[in-house]
């Protein structure tokens, strides 16, 4: 009997597969051939296996005269390995539930975590700024405020002070105490957070954990998806599964040392709050009010910037107040007009929370309009900012800033010598030709010789340039 041999088509298909040059149709054809004939599958598997072994065997034979770069993907990818905690052990649960879920592109190198954002964070020990890298062993400790930490895996943590969190890997950490909400995107499943009495292993979720500083009971609750709570020496399989809407208190006096409790979802902050609140004014003197609780984390100075964006009529205010549970704590009374550049005046209010006046509660900002003489309306945003923004130095502003308005791309460049320039869609504009900039009380003013109205900017977190009296979106630091 003739020995079986691969025909021309099968050879072409298998070679193409091994070289990564097959089209989808070709792959389908190869599958057909392999389904139809086990020998075809055997042929393919033997060559594919041989390819992988050749890579190993040939590595020792580097004695060739011509230099050629070695092409290698970055090595080991911890995040993906961690995802396997979920996958390998919990078998196909996660995969089957969402087999086509899109994994984010996880950076393969870089620090284990970065501080992505913070609001009102009061640091204990090491002070961190957004963008700061945290390697294994780094501790993020805040006595109050919010810190957003993003692990290399893509897992995003919102940590509310007082809290202390130690980074232990690209997708793992230890919560010593504090409140933490973890959002684990597809592909980063397997995020592990340890606490005093055990650990929580995520299976693709958003969950919260709260560990009191006094060593009391830790609470774990799940917003979406599923986690495993493993106590002390339990293995993954011995751990308790927790599903969406469930919460437990650990260490409580039951046989399992876990007690089911109602999940108080509202007690956790799930994302970094926005500094910007929309307003819509339709006339009258009724005050406008916004809840700024998630932005007021300590005593100190705060800024309220009223910014107009649209509408035929300027909004006129008489005062702005900051209230705690309905009681006025800080107030700034002066008239302000918010409208087009030329009708905007005095729209930055400074509010002080005196020492001892701060506590957790419902903080609101209230603005009192003057009755406008005629009808019409206007709309815009309130920017509620940390008063420390006024401590910016001229050097913090210099450089290019990019923003988009009504579909056009703009770039403002502030030169250290006080001159500035403007580009619109990469074309130089002469609008800034004779303009000069200076810093006054922490606010950047662009002055024009032909006008007595300056354009004003504030700097938020070093990377966002706010327009105070132009209806533009915040500019980002350019490259």
């Amino acid at each position: 009997m003739m020995k079986w041999q691969a025909d021309g088509e099968l050879r072409r298909l298998v070679d193409g597969m091994l070289d990564g040059s097959l089209s989808r149709t070709d792959v389908a054809r190869l599958e057909e051939r392999m389904e139809a004939d086990p020998r075809a599958m055997e042929y393919y598997l033997s060559l594919a296996g041989q390819e992988s072994l050749l890579a190993e065997l040939c590595a020792g034979e580097r004695d060739l005269p011509l230099p050629m770069p070695v092409k290698k993907r970055p090595r080991f990818h911890w995040a993906a390995a961690a995802a396997l905690i979920a996958a390998a052990i919990a078998t196909a649960v996660v995969m089957k539930r969402n087999p086509r879920s899109e994994a984010p592109s996880v950076a393969k190198t870089g620090p284990e975590a970065r501080l992505s954002s913070e609001v009102g964070a009061a640091w204990n020990g090491q002070h961190l700024s957004p963008g700061a890298a945290l390697g294994t062993g780094s501790v993020l400790a805040i006595s109050s405020g919010l810190a957003e930490l993003t692990h290399r895996s893509g897992t995003r943590l919102l940590i509310e002070g007082p809290a202390s969190y130690e980074v232990t890997g690209p997708n793992a950490g230890r919560l010593k105490h504090g409140k933490l909400v973890a959002e684990v995107p597809p592909g980063a499943e397997g995020y592990v957070v340890e606490y005093a009495e055990g650990r929580v292993v995520d299976l693709g979720t958003e969950f919260a954990i709260s560990a009191p500083a006094d060593g009391g009971h830790t609470e774990v609750g799940v917003f979406r998806g599923e986690v495993r709570v493993q106590q002390e020496n339990e293995t993954f399989e011995q751990g308790a599964a927790l599903y969406a809407g469930h919460a437990v208190r650990t260490g409580a006096g039951s046989a399992t040392r876990l007690r089911s409790i109602p999940f108080d979802q509202d007690s956790f902050i799930r994302q970094i709050p926005s500094h910007e609140y929309p307003w819509f004014y339709h006339g009258g003197e009724a005050p406008m009010e916004w809840d700024v609780s998630q932005l007021v984390w300590s005593a100190g100075n705060y800024l309220a910037v009223m910014k107009w964006m649209n509408g035929p009529q300027a909004l006129v205010l008489q005062k702005v107040e900051l209230l705690l549970d309905g009681q006025v704590v800080g107030s700034d009374e002066h008239p302000c007009s918010v409208g087009h550049l030329t009708s905007t005046l005095g729209n930055v209010y400074q509010l002080k929370v005196g020492p001892g006046a701060w506590k957790r509660g419902r903080w609101t900002l209230r603005a009192w309009p003057f009755e406008a003489a005629e009808g019409g309306h206007s709309e815009g945003i309130l920017m509620f900012e940390d008063g420390a923004l006024l401590n910016s130095e001229p050097g913090d502003f210099s450089g290019p800033w990019d923003y988009v308005h009504d579909g056009n791309r703009y770039r403002r460049l502030f030169n250290p010598d006080g001159t500035c320039s403007l580009w619109i869609n990469d074309t130089p504009s002469d609008y800034f030709k004779d303009a000069a900039w200076e810093l006054r009380g922490g606010i950047l003013q662009v002055n024009f010789p032909a006008s007595d109205v300056a354009e004003e900017h504030l700097l938020r977190d070093g990377n966002s340039l706010l327009f105070i009296n132009q209806p533009y979106r915040n500019a980002r630091r350019g490259k």
Binding site: L45, S46, A48, S52, L57, C58, L66, H77, W78, A80
Partner: protein
């Protein structure tokens, strides 16, 4: 995790070193298995290394006396599925899930002979012509593209393609012969 590093650990006598030894002795099997599912050598080394690391770091989860290789295969399987998902997202081709299941089951049956095949292939390589070894080294160790290979050897990419196809078959044939001798 480097197999060499595992070798050092494996010299100990506790259960950790048993795991290290298990991992080390399963390298050829895992590589062949993963390559069969991924459709070639591309990405295999990384994926097997990630699997090793996972097995090593999760060694506490492994129950002594249970089937280590079954566990390792399952880990590799899930890694392949994740890699497949990434590839599809990037617009690359991959086998269908039903084909993968068939391939996995057949690849598992082939695993016990992986080490024998590795040794046979080593012998076959040592007997191959120097100019052929050079091409193989460029392709498999330096991961030169077909065009780079063709340029470096002064031939057309198409000719190089045929040359590689021929080398693959020749090696496969040699390995089969060696294996037949080993097993007889």
């Amino acid at each position: 995790m480097d197999p060499e590093k595992l070798g050092e650990i494996a010299d100990g006598s506790d259960s950790a070193s048993e795991i290290a030894a298990e991992i080390r002795l399963f390298q050829a099997g895992l590589k062949e298995y993963v390559a069969g599912l991924l459709g070639g050598a591309d990405g295999v080394e990384d994926l097997v290394q990630e699997t090793n690391l996972f097995l090593w770091e999760q060694r506490g989860e492994f129950v002594r006396g249970s089937n280590f290789r079954a566990w390792a295969k399952r880990v590799a399987w899930f890694k392949v599925m994740a890699e497949r998902r990434d590839r599809l997202r990037e617009g690359r081709v991959a086998f269908s899930e039903s084909m993968l299941e068939q391939l996995a089951s057949r690849a598992e049956e082939r695993m016990p002979q992986s080490d024998l095949r590795l040794e046979a292939l080593r012998r076959c390589l040592s007997r191959s012509r120097p100019q052929d070894r050079k091409i193989l080294e460029w392709k498999y160790s330096r991961r030169a593209s077909l065009t780079e290979l063709a340029d470096a050897h002064g031939c057309a990419p198409n000719a190089m393609h045929k040359m590689i196809s021929r080398l693959r078959l020749a090696l496969r044939h040699c390995v089969e012969k060696q294996l037949a001798e080993d097993l007889s």
